[in-house]
Amino acid sequence: MAGRDDPVDLYRALALHRAAATRLKSLREQGQVPAATRCGLGYEAVSAGAARALRTADDSTGDVIAPTPDNPGAFFVFGGTPLEFFRQRLARDSAPGRGREPGMCPTDFERGLAGPAALPGTMVEVMAGITLAFRLRGQDRVGLVFSGEDETSTSAWHEGINFAAAQRCPLIVVVQAGTEASIGAHTRARDFGQKAAGYGVASASVDGGDVLAVHGAVLAAAERARSGKGTTLVEARGCPASRRVHRAARTGEGRHPDENSPDPVARCRARVVGERIARASDLDEVERGARSEVRAACEQALGESSPAEERALGGVYGGDPGTPPWYRLEPPARGLAPASTT
C-alpha cells in the first residue's frame, strides 16, 4: 500500500477495533478477564491509521509492528483475527500463547506481529533490533512500535530509540500522547515530538483521533525509513490520556480531562459520509459485520477450554522439554527407599 488509503477500508479497521474493544470491556466487567485488562477504546484511529500505512504480508516479507494492548486495530490490520484475540485474552489452550501470558498480541513474525511485550519500553529496544536486522540484510521493510506517553520516561524507551537512531534503523516510534492539559506530574515535557531532536531523529506530531492524519504521518515516516533515512518519532496527540492521568482525574468523581475528546470512529464516519465517499448505510453495514465477526469469535473462544495443568511444564528451553528440574515428577531422593508413610 502506498499513497492515500481507501477510507472505507480504514473505516472497517476502525470498526473492528471498536467492536473488539467494546466486547473485551464487557468481558472485563463480567470478570472474565482481569480487571486491569486494557481494551483500547479511543485508540481506534491511531491503531488503524498507523498500521494501514505499512505493508502487510504473511510470509515474513512485510513490515513488523509491536502493538500495545490498546492497539487491537493494528493487530487486525496485520492479519490477527478476532478469534486469536479472544483466545489470547481468555487464556485458552488454543491461544497462540497457550494461556501462558496475558498480552493482547501474540507474536507471529510471518505476519509481522511482534509481541507480547514485557515491561514498558522493552519493545522499543526489541523493535530497534528487528529493524536493525532489516537494514543489515538490505530488506525493504520497516518496523513500528506503539508507545505510551509516560513510557517515554522509561530507561528501555530511551536506550531503544537512541540505539535505533544511532544505527539508522528503519523504525517508527508512535507516542500515544494525551492532550496537553492531561499530561501528569510525571514529566515536564509538554511536547513529545521535542524528544526526537535530542536523539537526532525526525518527528511529526498529529491528531491521534484523526485516522487520516495518523495514516499520512506514518506513511511519510515509512518512506523516510525505506529510503535509508532512519528512525522517526510520530507523536499522536489527544489519545485518551494516560490511565495514570485518568486515575488522578477521577478522584472526587471528577470528569476525566479527555472525556470530551471526540470519538475517532464518529469523526471518520462524519468525514467519509460528509465527503460522500460512502453512504451512512454502507458504514452501518461495515459496523454490523465487524460486530458479528467479533461476537462469533468471542463466543467460540468462551466455549473453548483452558490449558491442562501439565501444560505449565516445558517451553522454557529449546530441546528436551524435561530440562528444567521439576519436583513433582521425580522422587525427592533418587535411589533411596521410598518413605514408609507414602
Binding site: P34, R100, A118, L119, S306, E310, T342
Partner: protein, 342 residues
C-alpha cells in the same frame, strides 16, 4: 494543606479493630511519617490514586505532595533519587507498583545503594517496598517474587512478612534501619480475611534478622516465609491430624540477613528439614539454607534436606497453569511424610 487528624481508615488499630496485612502496612507508613518528618514516599500513582493496591490511600491529603510524590515510570530514576535524598538525611520509602518492576532498578540498587556505605558514601536508609507473588492471575510480569535478585548482594536487607503484626513491626524496623531494605508484600495476604488481627495500640517494631517460630514441633522443621507460612501451617495441621506428627514451622520474616542460628537450632531438635518457598526452584533461597545447615548442623541431620517450590518457569497466566506452577499444600504434606518416614 495537611490535616492533623488521622484518616478514618488508618485508625482501626487505635479503635481496637482488627486490620488486614495491607492495613497494617499502611498504618506503619502513616505512623512513621507522623513520627519522623524525614520519612517520605515516592512511587507511581501513590498520590492522587492512592497506589495500585491503595496502600497509601489518603496519604496525599494528609501529608501533602512533598511527602507523597508521584513519579514517572522510572524505577531506576526514583530509586537512585531516593538514595540521594537519603544522603541528605531523609528516609525515603519507595513503592514499586508491582515488585516485578524493580528489575530496571537492579543496577542502581545492587551497585549504588548496596555498596554506598562500603565505598565511603555513607548509609542509605531507603526502603523499597511493593506487592509480590502469584496466585492472582497476573501472568509473568505481575506475579514475581524478587528476593533472589537481591539475596546475593552484600549490603542489602530483605524482609518478607507473613502476618499483619509482623508486617507493621517489620516495616517500622525497616524504615528506622540505616541500610537499604527490600520489603516484599504478598498480594494474596494483603486482604486475606483470616489474617486480620488486632494489633497493639502502642508503637512496636519487629527486629530485622530474627525468625519466628510459627508452630512448635519435634518431628521435622519447615523453614519458610511469606504466603508459604500459611500453606505450611495448613500442611502441618493435616499431618498432625492424619499422621500424628508434629511439624515445626519457622517463619524467616527477614531473608537477609538470614537467621541461621534459629534454623540450626530447630534442625538440631528435629533432625529433618524441608524448605518451602513460593519462588522458583533453581537458585532459590533453599540452597543457601541447605548450605548453612550443612555447615552448622550436618551431624544432626537424619534425612536429606528437601524443598517444595514453584516450577522453574515464568509465572503462567491461565489459572490452571498458575495453580500447577505454584507449590501446593499437598506437596508439602507429601514431602513431610517422606521426611518423617525416612
Amino acid at each position: 494543606m495537611t490535616s492533623n487528624s488521622r484518616p478514618e481508615h488508618l485508625g482501626k488499630t487505635l479503635r481496637g479493630k482488627p486490620v488486614t496485612l495491607l492495613e497494617a502496612i499502611s498504618e506503619a507508613l502513616f505512623e512513621e511519617m507522623e513520627r519522623d518528618s524525614s520519612v517520605f514516599l515516592m512511587g507511581e500513582d501513590i498520590g492522587v490514586y492512592g497506589g495500585a493496591f491503595k496502600v497509601t490511600r489518603g496519604f496525599l491529603d494528609h501529608f501533602g505532595a512533598e511527602r507523597v510524590i508521584d513519579t514517572p515510570i522510572s524505577e531506576a530514576g526514583f530509586t537512585g533519587a531516593a538514595a540521594g535524598a537519603a544522603h541528605m538525611g531523609l528516609r525515603p520509602v519507595v513503592e514499586m507498583q508491582f515488585m516485578d518492576f524493580i528489575s530496571p532498578a537492579y543496577d542502581v540498587i545492587t551497585n549504588y545503594l548496596a555498596t554506598s556505605r562500603y565505598r565511603g558514601s555513607g548509609s542509605v536508609p531507603v526502603v523499597v517496598r511493593g506487592p509480590v507473588g502469584g496466585g492472582n492471575r497476573g501472568g509473568p510480569f505481575h506475579s514475581q517474587n524478587v528476593e533472589m535478585a537481591f539475596f546475593h548482594t552484600p549490603g542489602l536487607k530483605i524482609v518478607y512478612p507473613s502476618t499483619a503484626y509482623d508486617a507493621k513491626g517489620l516495616m517500622k524496623a525497616a524504615i528506622r534501619d540505616d541500610d537499604p531494605v527490600i520489603f516484599e508484600e504478598h498480594k494474596s495476604l494483603y486482604r486475606a480475611p483470616h489474617l486480620r488481627e488486632v494489633l497493639p495500640a502502642e508503637d512496636y517494631v519487629v527486629p530485622l534478622g530474627k525468625a519466628r517460630r510459627a508452630r512448635e514441633g519435634g518431628d521435622a522443621t519447615i523453614v519458610t516465609y511469606g504466603a508459604m507460612v500459611h500453606a505450611s501451617l495448613e500442611a502441618a495441621a493435616v499431618l498432625e491430624k492424619d499422621d500424628g506428627v508434629e511439624i515445626e514451622v519457622l517463619d524467616l520474616r527477614t531473608l537477609l540477613p538470614l537467621d541461621d542460628a534459629a534454623i540450626a537450632e530447630s534442625v538440631k531438635k528435629t533432625g529433618r528439614l524441608l524448605v518451602v518457598h513460593e519462588d522458583t526452584r533453581t537458585g532459590g533461597i533453599a540452597g543457601e539454607i541447605a548450605m548453612r545447615v550443612s555447615e552448622q548442623a550436618f551431624e544432626w541431620l537424619d534425612a536429606p534436606i528437601l524443598r517444595v517450590t514453584a516450577i522453574d518457569s515464568p509465572v503462567p497466566y491461565a489459572g490452571g497453569l498458575e495453580d500447577y506452577f505454584l507449590p501446593r499444600v499437598s506437596d508439602i504434606v507429601t514431602t513431610c511424610r517422606y521426611l518423617t518416614g525416612y
